[in-house]
Structure formats: C-alpha cells, structure tokens
C-alpha cells in the first residue's frame, strides 16, 4: 500500500532558480538562503520518496486566461520545464507517475473534488525551484513527481478550507493505491510577498511566523482564515500560502517538525521552509 511519509513546504521564488542555474548560489546574498536547505538535502537523501505530489501554481506559463483550472493534476509520463521567456531552466525533465496520478484523479473526483485532468503541461519555476532546493543539481530528479497546479493568480483561489480538505482526500486516495510507495506531499509558494503596485516589496515577518506556527499546531484554525487576511497581511502574492494547507491536510493531525527555516529576502519575497513528519503521536 502506498503511504504518505512526510510533507515539505517551501517558497518557490524564480530568482532562487536563476541564482542556482547561473552559479551564483555561493554569493553572499544567496549563501544564507541555500544554507537553510542543507539539512533538507541530507534529510531527503536518507529516506528518498518514490513519488512527490508537488502542489504549486502556474504563473501564466502553462495556463493563460483562456482556461483557468482551480485544481489541475498532471497525469502525463513527463513534464518539460517551461520557457518563461528566457528559455527553459537547465534542469532535468520531470518524470511523472501516471499510474498513481490517474488513481488520484479518479479517487478525488469520486470524492467530490472537481479535478481537471492534464496530460500535457509544461511546468514553471513554481514546480522546478522546490525540486532544485531539495535535490540540488542532479542529472535526473531522483523521484517521480505528480504536479498538482492550483489557481492562485485569478481571484478567487480555492478557500483554505477546501485546500486542507483536498489534502485529506489526497491522503485517502494515496492509501488506497495498492503498490508499496513512499509518497511525500509538498506545498509551495509564499511566504509574504507582493510583486505589484505601490505596495510591492511588502514583507510581514510576524504573519509568516504565526502562519508557520499554526500550520504545524492548529491547521484547522489556519484553514478558516479568509483570503482577505492573506492579501492584506502577506501581500497580493502571499495568497499562494493556501497551497501549503493541501500538504498539511495530507499529514497526521499531530506532526513532528523535522526542520524549519525562515529568511528575508529572496529578491522580492520572504522565504519559508518546513519539513513535517508523520508519526509524531
């Protein structure tokens, strides 16, 4: 039987990818950021997942305004890094796990989540930067990845409550898959940041740290927080944090915090990172 072993949350700032790809990760500006993932690289090498369900959002790369799915699950054999305007990132092709992805799609739809099934999709920095942060720069990604793209660009994104419950449904679906697989769920995006308008550059350390606390200890309360609070307190792009609730919903009610990291800034953004393990209770 497949099982969810852990959850990872991390920001997915494009500048982080660019720093890595351009060999600038050793610069003073970037060193403290990458140092925050040293533990994580060791941790994941020690108990490598077979599959990562990677919750992220597309940033007008695969989806324009022609068609905006709330939840899209990638069922293809593989996914190419997207060309976001400067050529695709020089990272490996992302190998999918179509058998588990289709199983999830089927179970989630029957569980009354209105998924969009996607068989062809390029994946942008939202998906590839977290892989780079956790795995560095390998020739091939060491595990299969199921992309789960959440709309957070067009208001309204799904509610925090919906995201949290989707996580719970993902767990049920994973646990009904007959093959013996170690599965991690990653939630990406955030933390506080605003890329647009006169308020660009907003960072809210207090909000971010309270979010990290509550995501661990009281995710149900966090799942009730309305969009308005995220946008007001964490910036118009801080709303990406609702995606972390999907990861959290897929874990036990009580979890062990294996790692926690917070850093400001990466370009325009506050960076947060959590590794949560099941089996704490």
């Amino acid at each position: 039987m497949a099982r969810i072993t852990a959850g990872v949350a991390t920001s997915h700032v494009p500048a982080i990818g660019a720093a890595l790809d351009n060999g600038r990760s050793g610069e003073d500006y970037w060193k403290p950021l990458f140092a925050g993932y040293d533990f994580s690289k060791k941790w994941i090498a020690e108990d490598k997942p077979d599959v990562v369900i990677l919750v992220y959002n597309d940033h007008a790369s695969a989806f324009s305004l022609e068609l905006i799915p709330t939840f899209a699950i990638g069922c293809a054999d593989s996914f190419q890094p997207a060309d976001e305007g400067w050529g695709p990132r020089p990272v490996p092709v992302v190998e999918g796990h179509p058998a588990l992805a289709w199983h999830l799609a089927e179970k989630l739809i029957l569980d009354e989540f209105d998924m969009t099934i996607v068989n062809r999709m390029d994946v942008d920095h939202g998906l590839t930067v977290p892989l780079s942060l956790m795995f560095g720069q390998p020739q091939a990604w060491p595990c299969k990845v199921i992309p789960l793209a959440v709309n957070v660009v067009q208001y309204p994104p799904p509610t925090g409550n919906r995201c949290y419950n989707l996580g719970k449904a993902i767990r049920r679906a994973v646990e009904s898959f007959p093959e013996d697989l170690k599965v991690q769920v990653w939630g990406t995006g955030g933390m506080s940041h605003q890329l647009q308008g006169p308020r660009a550059g907003l960072i809210n350390r207090a909000f971010d740290n309270a979010f990290l606390d509550r995501l661990v200890d009281d995710p149900v309360a966090q799942s009730k927080v309305p969009h308005l609070d995220y946008v007001r307190e964490a910036g118009s792009e801080g709303i990406e944090l609702v995606m972390w609730l999907i990861m959290r919903g897929a874990l036990d009610d009580k979890v062990k915090v294996a790692h926690r990291f917070y850093h400001v800034p990466a370009s325009n953004t506050a960076v947060g990172h959590l590794i949560l393990e099941n089996g704490a209770a």
Binding site: A60, G201, I203, P265, S267
Partner: protein
C-alpha cells in the same frame, strides 16, 4: 465598480473577475510575448504589434509608456505584464521598484532591510 472589502488594501489591485474581464486582451497580448518570434515583432514595431489585439487605446498607451501601474489599473496582471519586462530585459525587482516609485538600489536596500513594513500598509482607512 462594485466595492469589495479588498479595495481597502492600499497600493494593491486584486486580479478579480472585474479586472480579468477588463484586462483580458491586454494580458493575452502579454502572453503572446512568450514566443520569440512575437517578441521580435513587438520590438520591431510596438504600435503595429499592439494593433493586432483588440485592446483599448488606453491599454495600448500604457504598454507603450511602460506605465506598469497603469497597466494593472487597466486590468493587467503582474504575471502577464512582467512578460513585457522580460522582453525589455528588466527583472521583477526593477519593475517592482518602478511601481513603488523608488530607484532600484533604494528598493533593493529596502528588501535587504527586511522589506516594506506592513505597518501603515494594511488598510486605506488605517492610514488616513
């Protein structure tokens, strides 16, 4: 414009249904810049290229003027308008500086010092 609770947030335009309807063609123009041949065509004759899209005159002018805040007010979404910035060779941080009315070094300095403070930036009512 229907008043929404998020209209109270200063310096921020939420990309909601109203903005998305308003900016559809502006954003689809931006999306077209994902293709190298379209970037070339745009650079060669911006006005002629913009005229291929059923955008309002004000939207076209905001693009020609690189009026980044103006584009947002006219329905642009930052993930789309940033494709114009990429075409121009500008980084996200460079246009963030322009949109917030400071020089890029000043903006970068603000970010290094922990970013723009939330205090005074929560609510238009609060800051009055």
């Amino acid at each position: 414009m229907t008043e929404k609770p998020y209209h109270d947030i200063p310096g921020t335009i939420l990309f909601d249904a109203e903005q998305s309807r308003l900016g559809y063609h502006l954003n689809m123009f931006c999306m077209s810049l994902m293709k190298a041949e379209n970037r070339e065509a745009f650079k060669a004759d911006e006005r002629a290229y913009l005229d291929r899209f059923p955008m309002s005159e004000a939207q076209k002018q905001s693009v020609l003027d690189r009026d980044w805040n103006g584009m947002l007010a006219l329905g642009g979404n930052i993930y789309f308008t940033s494709k114009i910035a990429a075409t121009d060779g500008l980084s996200f941080q460079q246009i963030a500086a322009i949109m917030s009315g400071v020089s890029q070094p000043e903006y970068a300095e603000m970010m290094l010092k922990g970013g723009r403070s939330i205090d005074g930036n929560r609510s238009k009512k609060e800051s009055r």
